[in-house]
Symmetry: C2
Subunit: 126 residues, 2 copies
């Protein structure tokens, strides 16, 4: 990191570039069900109004699913810990897509109301 | 969102689940070079000590590259705006991998020192 600047400044240098939601879901069900995870991603993309490019999923042994929906507007990712009832998502979208629409879809898909969401702007200055 | 809880609590309910870096890179070069982007992702994964599952990239017309490195430890994503000299990365890693090692690799690959990094814990309570 010699000479590389770091900061935690929140003021965007390119305001409106996009919104990034960090979504931690607890007490979830069916987090080891790859079909459910894929459908949840597809439903989340549709609800947000984003354009899907591709979905890629991996299932781990003995458990856990990781995946990404690549979007024209950026991405949604998922990583599940079925043994903890926990899943980590993020939804980053630029343009007119609405990443907040993702949250309800995921809560419904995994049968929980326990969702922690942190919203970040992107395009930040150094 | 009827009934779905939201909060900005930072205390993790599953401490140590993973570290998520939100990396905004400014004044970057070669952000429209898909080969450079792919190599930067591969080098970043290697530097962090993570295990690569797959890399997927898309190039947009007239410009811009979006991509993901799917990891056994979670992911690195990239979205570039060559016309702005800007790129949005995130690096989420659990286990022993070190996402901070990604930052230097990206700064070098895109020939800038202007990198804004926000560090988030994952596994947060509602």
């Amino acid at each position: 990191m010699d000479g590389t600047k770091r900061s935690i400044a929140e003021a965007p240098i390119h305001p409106g570039l996009g919104t990034h939601l960090i979504i931690d879901l607890s007490n979830g069900q069916r987090l080891d069900d790859e079909t459910r995870v894929e459908q949840a991603l597809r439903d989340a993309v549709a609800a947000s109004g984003a354009t899907l490019l591709d979905i890629h999923l991996h299932r781990f042994a003995p458990q856990g699913v990781t995946g990404v929906a690549m979007l024209a507007e950026s991405h949604i990712t998922v990583h599940t810990w079925p043994e903890l009832g926990f899943a980590a998502f993020d939804a980053f979208m630029c343009g007119a897509a609405n990443p907040w629409a993702v949250v309800d879809v995921l809560a419904d898909a995994f049968e929980t109301k326990d969702v922690n969401v942190r919203e970040l702007s992107r395009g930040n200055r150094v």
